[in-house]
């Protein structure tokens, strides 16, 4: 078994242009997905992030850390959360990602899972 991070993608249209009832239905499906896959042991953890307008980015520029408001990249699609899953291989991880009720997912294999508490 290998561990993968599912970077849960948001699309501005999905968030802003959908009617409220449609969005609520989407969130309900997402909640159910988390519950079901946590119960079966596929999902090992994860977090939902506040929208990207709340982000602050710190970067090393010429040796010192520079602070800017906003995410590291501005785009129509952005990372809205993470889920850590366990799957036999990449094909299985892709199959799981296809069941995600939200807009999209970027799958990344984990080099190393850091201890929960240092």
């Amino acid at each position: 078994m290998a561990q993968y991070v599912l970077m849960l993608l948001e699309d501005d249209d999905w968030v802003n242009k959908q009617p409220r009832e449609e969005k609520e239905r989407g969130y309900a499906q997402i909640n159910k997905w988390w519950e079901d896959l946590t119960k079966t042991g596929v999902v090992k953890g994860g977090e939902e992030l506040q929208p990207r307008r709340t982000a602050t980015t710190v970067r090393r520029v010429n040796g010192s850390m520079k602070v800017t408001e906003g995410p590291f990249i501005e785009s129509k699609e952005s990372v809205g959360g993470f889920s850590i899953i366990e799957a036999p291989d990449r094909a299985a991880a892709i199959a799981i990602a296809k069941t995600w009720p939200g807009f999209g997912i970027e799958i990344r294999e984990i080099v190393e899972q850091r201890p929960r508490e240092g």
Binding site: V5, L9, G45, E48, R60, M65, G104, E106, E112, G118
Partner: protein, 116 residues
């Protein structure tokens, strides 16, 4: 206290092939940073393989499309993440400035989304 996601940014340089002594020092400093700040970390999160190994799935018009690669091609990318508990945003940004690596995007975490 509030929870913040630290998205550790990768500047697009592949260090894994042959790290220079300076890069090895950065790695050692990062290891030390995690040790020093262990009491603030509520979830260690993970270090990710480079974006060239990514696969992206999008749902459009009821169908899932699968493409190789990250959701966005850019010089900078997310190389890992951890969840930390800190008094407020300014404390989170102050701590992010002590990161020995390239950069961090700090994102608040909440049970409920703001304005939704």
């Amino acid at each position: 206290m509030a929870k913040y996601a630290f998205l550790f940014l990768d500047d697009g340089v592949d260090y894994q092939t042959a790290p220079t002594p300076e890069q090895q020092k950065v790695y050692a400093d990062i290891f030390k940073w995690f040790e020093t700040n262990g009491d603030k970390i509520t979830d260690g999160g993970a270090e990710l393989q480079p974006t060239r190994t990514a696969t992206t799935i999008r749902h459009r018009n009821g169908k899932a499309t699968v493409v190789d690669g990250p959701f966005i091609e850019a010089k900078e990318s997310v190389g890992g993440f951890s969840i930390l508990e800190l008094p407020d945003k300014s404390a989170a940004v102050a701590l992010a400035k002590t990161w020995p690596g390239y950069g961090i995007e700090v994102r608040p975490i909440g049970d409920h989304r703001e304005g939704e």
